[in-house]
Amino acid sequence: MKGIFRQLFRMVGLVLAAGLASAVLVRYSPGALVDQRELNQRLSEESLADMRAQKARNSNVGVNFLAYLRNLTHGDLGYSESNNAPIASLIADRAPATLRELGVGLGGGWLIGLGLAIPAGCFRRAWMYDAASSAAAGLLLSLPAALIAYLCLMAGTASGTVLVIVLAPRIFRFARNLLVQAYGAHHVEIARARGIREWRILSAHVLPETAPQMLALLASSVSMAIGAAIPVEAICDAPGLGRLAWQAATARDLPLLVNLTMLVTVATIAAVMLSEMAASREASALL
């Protein structure tokens, strides 16, 4: 219980630090205190003075961040000027598409990555299979996610499937190395010599032993998936949070980016935290 509270405290601290850091970046970014509307010649001197006064009031990072946190408790995340819509509704609209994509990407990526890694670890004499699967993974790892997204787009593949293709080689490579190491352990060789079936060796000896590292890989695959979702959604024109982040970056919609930063920080840290807790439970069960 104490560990959970410590992890939660760490998570809240990191999320707040990420929010404050991005707020500082926004405040001190070039042109932060200039409003494009000032170029509008139809605005009177009074309106311009009002706009400048409002910008000057917003220049204090600490006060602004506290006001943002206060509004956050009421579900108000601010307003996106580039999308001309409240940020909360934008995120609520786009999140389901990204969650679906991440679900397909992570599920498929793990299924294919782990599915291909198990025979590579299990059958040490199948060097041709190992070489072919490692070469295919190496080729996919040599291409950026944006290029894979473009090639898949030409083939008419959905964005979720693109994430599968991006994630599977990364999961395969880590999982293969872990499984090769686990299958080489002395007790596994003894189990084989005693005639224990392969599926039993896998389920009772290899997978439980690699569980902590696999859980760490699961957490980092969530982070990889979120990172890959940006170019994939931008290229595939998918209406998700990744595309929203890309649009916010190209339009310099900084309030929207601050909110997305905090959201992504929560998601990645929660994944890491859950995997650390599961890994420690698994490790204590093994002992």
Binding site: G13, L14, A17, A18, A21, S22, L25, V26, S29, P30, G31, G138, L139, L141, S142, L143, P144, A145, A146, L147, Y150, L151, M154, R170, R173, F174, N177, S223, M224, I226, G227, A228, I230, P231, A234, I235, A245, W246, A248, A249, T250, R252, D253, L254, L257, L260, T261, V264, T265, T268, I269, V272
Partner: protein, 267 residues
């Protein structure tokens, strides 16, 4: 495997030689426009054809190789220097300094790499000169990429600090700076060198992704990411020569993978 590694070294060497002096290999400058012959297919004069404004694609690929391949090591060097200083300081000092640096590294590592770059890139001016966009892109990569190698350096320094030879040096009255320079630095240098080589392909891939998203090196200066933007809205099946930068990129990163086996290039 030895043959494959030798081929990889040869390929990287050849590409580096071309990248070092593109003027020798390219028939035209990257921004020379042949306005009478835009968008032509490959021919003897232009082996990869010309782009929409009549620029020689092969020449642009050669100049783009210089930008992508030479500035990634510069960015990797910057991040390794920062990692060496911050990771070394955290490992040596311990206490509050260690906790602060580790917390900052945790913060950097908690965000997906590309997302972090996107936020910082958005905070910097987007409409800048090509030279400034190169500097911004690679400074950003260098400055933001310190966290992962810094953790490795910190762990190594902490381990070295409690090693026997450091203990003996201390017992013989070795001063902290001398200890740092003569005992710790030579032992941490190979670790930093390994981190440098791991970072180079990651930065090349990151620049390509940023370029494809329109947030990398600005036109008319070419980079692999910028050149791959040409694929947008066009089928590579009809014009497969547009994939030349992708093939070169795959060969270069594949060569790095062969030389740095067991490393991940997550972008």
């Amino acid at each position: 495997m030895k043959v494959a590694r030798a081929v990889a070294i040869g390929l990287l060497g050849a590409v580096a030689i071309v990248a070092l002096a593109p003027e020798w290999w390219a028939a035209n400058r990257y921004d020379t426009q042949f306005r009478a012959i835009p968008d032509t297919p490959p021919a003897a004069r232009f082996p990869l054809g010309t782009d929409a404004v009549g620029r020689d694609r092969l020449s642009r690929l050669i100049y783009g190789t210089r930008v992508s391949l030479l500035l990634a090591p510069a960015a990797a060097l910057l991040s390794c220097v920062a990692a060496g200083i911050l990771g070394g300081l955290a490992g040596l000092a311990g206490g509050f300094i260690d906790r602060t640096i580790v917390a900052a590294a945790d913060l950097f590592l908690s965000l997906p790499w590309l997302f972090l770059l996107l936020i910082v890139r958005a905070c910097l001016p987007l409409n800048v000169s090509p030279a400034a966009s190169v500097a911004i892109t690679f400074l950003m990569l260098g400055v933001l990429g310190w966290a992962a190698p810094a953790r490795v350096v910190r762990a190594a320094v902490r381990k070295l600090k409690s090693s026997e030879f450091v203990f003996m040096a201390r017992a013989r009255g070795c001063r902290p700076w001398r200890l740092l320079w003569c005992q710790l630095r030579p032992n941490v240098a190979p670790i930093l060198l390994a981190q440098f080589w791991v970072a180079v392909p990651i930065y090349i891939l990151t620049e390509t992704t940023l370029g494809m998203l329109g947030l990398g090196v600005a036109e008319p200066l070419p980079s692999w990411g910028g050149l791959l933007r040409e694929l947008e809205g066009d089928s590579f099946l009809a014009r497969p020569y547009l994939l030349a930068p992708a093939i070169l990129l795959a060969l270069v990163i594949g060569s790095f993978q062969l030389l740095l086996s067991n490393e991940d290039f997550s972008i």
